[in-house]
């Protein structure tokens, strides 16, 4: 047709430019920022922590891939499995969110756990925490924390056996928080900041975690609202309750939780005001659990509770 030979312009809605950011980028920023903490944990707890991180992240990716293959794909050509796996629109393993979940779950585990614990944990985290709700973007709770909460409830002994640091023998000790809770014994702040204490794989070193967080701020992957409001609330509220404020800020998983868990984009509110409320709420619940609760550590449950409230906060604080 002669009409078709005319030069037809392309028309679409205006924003023709994009800053090139994708979900993929966001997730890989988080992974890159977790590298210093992971390296530090390998230095402190030995190769065992590397294995736990590796097993956990691999299980997460495999679980997500297999489950999406089984339940999420509408059309899958089994004759060319690899090609259709890559090209399928429904399979989104490649966006890296499963890898982040697996890494973060491994970071919350003690270095002494048997190797099947991270496997069970990540399967629960991915299957129940994420894919049961419909995949990335639909989940209510942070999947990594959901997995940890499950493990803590199911195998409390494994989850609370800690390893003494640096000279990584099989000498079990208690974390600074449980020492504080049971004996009223305070660990020096400098040890907490450097990471020369026992604890979960990723949570010990404040310096390494802040290094990663600085990268996230530089890439604008996270905003300041949640971490700052969370940490400030913990500081102020522990002062109000007459507890050692600096100790509470630097001990336990607070830094890890504030910068990586609570800022999980899917499960936190999207407005700036909502994020501040979210951070404050998480801080108050954390201190309440640490002071009055049965557990020495409250970050995990505080963030999970606030995750459940996040849609409500979104609704109120538009």
């Amino acid at each position: 047709m002669e009409r078709q030979s005319r030069n037809l312009l392309i028309t679409s809605s205006p924003p023709y430019i994009k800053n090139g950011e994708t979900v993929h980028c966001l997730m890989f920023d988080v992974i890159i920022s977790l590298v210093p903490a992971a390296l530090f944990s390998i230095y402190v707890f030995g190769v065992r922590s590397l294995w736990i991180i590796f097993i956990s992240s691999m299980t997460a990716v495999i679980t997500e891939g297999v489950l999406q293959l089984l339940f999420f794909t509408k059309e899958f050509n089994y004759k060319t499995p690899i090609l259709s796996f890559i090209k399928s629109e429904d399979i989104t393993v490649t966006d890296g969110s499963a890898l982040v979940t697996g890494l973060l779950l491994a970071f919350t585990l003690p270095p002494t756990v048997p190797y099947w614990i991270p496997i069970v944990g990540t399967v629960v985290a991915i299957a129940l925490g994420k894919l049961a709700f419909g995949g990335l973007g639909y989940n209510i709770f942070n999947p990594a924390l959901l997995g940890r909460a499950f493990l803590l409830a199911a195998w409390p002994v494994y989850m609370t056996t800690w390893l003494a640091t640096i000279n990584a023998d099989v000498v079990t000790t208690a974390t600074p928080l449980s020492m504080m809770k049971e004996d009223g014994q305070l660990t020096p702040i400098i040890n907490l900041i450097v990471g020369n204490v026992s604890g979960s794989i990723g949570e010990t070193s404040v310096v390494a975690l802040l290094l990663g967080a600085a990268y996230l701020f530089y890439k604008r992957t996270i905003t300041w609202h949640i971490p700052v409001s969370y940490i400030v609330t913990v500081f102020v509220f522990s002062l109000v309750l007459g507890m050692p404020a600096f100790f509470h800020v630097f001990s336990g998983g607070l830094i890890l939780g504030a910068f990586y868990m609570a800022t999980d984009v899917v499960t936190s509110p999207c407005t700036p005001k909502g994020r501040i409320i979210f951070g404050c709420g998480a801080g108050i619940i954390t201190i309440l659990i640490r002071k009055y609760g049965g557990y020495p550590e409250g970050v995990c449950y505080a963030i999970l509770i606030m995750n459940a409230v996040a849609p409500l906060i979104d609704r109120i604080k538009r």
């Binding site: 047709m1 009409r3 078709q4 037809l8 312009l9 392309i10 028309t11 679409s12 809605s13």
Partner: protein, 272 residues
């Protein structure tokens, strides 16, 4: 052993007490409703399609019992169930004209392009830019917003094409017509002729834009023995009250634009 027995007994006891209380409560606090509403609601299809003008089948049943509406307003029910509803209400049910949706565009992807559309694949978005990428203002855009609205799987698109409407499954609820940004989908009675082109242009202007569009030759208007077909404001309209289903207009049409809306249909419309 003893503890197990005690536990079981306590549990059973709790169950029995709760059950008895609930049964009692249901009896005491029961709200008096017309029993016919429930039976009629069971007879209705329960799709809550909104085709009758009520938000749900329950509301429709309540209105039926109070005598506000006729039973044949339900587009989904089969004749037998309508009869059964009539029996319950004690009224005679007349068969309603069966209506189905039809896309009044024949050209669609065949019509000449004015630009390449690269935006979101949705008719409602594409129509914001000079009413779509076809030169004909009245052409179907074929992204299938209507097929996503259909609750009965009666409409489907094969890629970008004029949607195919399965008149057997179509209930005439009008959800697709409401979403069509160009008003190309019309709810028309089954078994009558209809015009499969919505253009208001005439003659040469049409054939420039679309090779198979209606050129308004008005042969159908002249050929109709009952005078049921008229051209008003560029649109050819058929008065269905006058139509005697002689299908002379369908034979007269030189471009085969008039068609009979039948429940058994061939897949129509060219794909790009």
């Amino acid at each position: 052993m003893w503890t197990v027995l005690v536990g079981t007994l306590i549990l059973c006891g709790c169950g029995i007490v709760a059950g008895v209380t609930l049964v009692g409560a249901a009896r005491v606090f029961a709200v008096k409703t017309d029993e016919r509403v429930e039976t009629i609601e069971a007879l209705l299809p329960g799709a809550n399609c909104g085709g009758c003008g009520n938000p749900s089948c329950y509301n429709y049943a309540v209105k039926l019992v109070s005598g506000e509406v006729e039973p044949n307003r339900c587009v989904l029910s089969k004749q037998e169930s309508l009869q059964a509803i009539g029996d319950i209400l004690g009224i005679k049910v007349e068969a309603a004209l069966r209506r189905a949706a039809s896309v009044c565009c024949l050209g669609g992807m065949v019509a000449a392009k004015q630009y390449e559309y690269a935006g979101m694949p949705s008719c409602r978005v594409a129509v914001l830019y000079t009413l779509g990428d076809r030169q004909c203002q009245w052409s179907c855009l074929g992204f299938g917003d209507c097929s996503k609205m259909c609750k009965f799987d009666a409409i489907y698109n094969k890629g970008r094409s004029i949607p195919f409407i399965d008149a057997d499954k179509c209930t005439g609820c009008g959800a697709c017509a409401a979403v069509c940004p160009k008003d190309l989908i019309k709810i028309l009675p089954v078994g009558f002729p209809y015009v499969v082109c919505s253009t208001k242009e005439r003659g040469k202007a049409v054939s420039k834009e679309c090779p198979i569009g209606c050129i308004h030759c008005l042969k159908c208007v002249k050929g109709c023995p009952e005078g049921a077909i008229k051209e008003i404001g560029g649109i050819i309209k058929i008065e269905y009250s006058k139509c005697i289903q002689c299908y002379k207009c369908v034979e007269e049409c030189p471009r085969k634009i008039l068609k009979v809306l039948s429940t058994v249909r061939q897949e129509e419309g060219a794909t790009a």
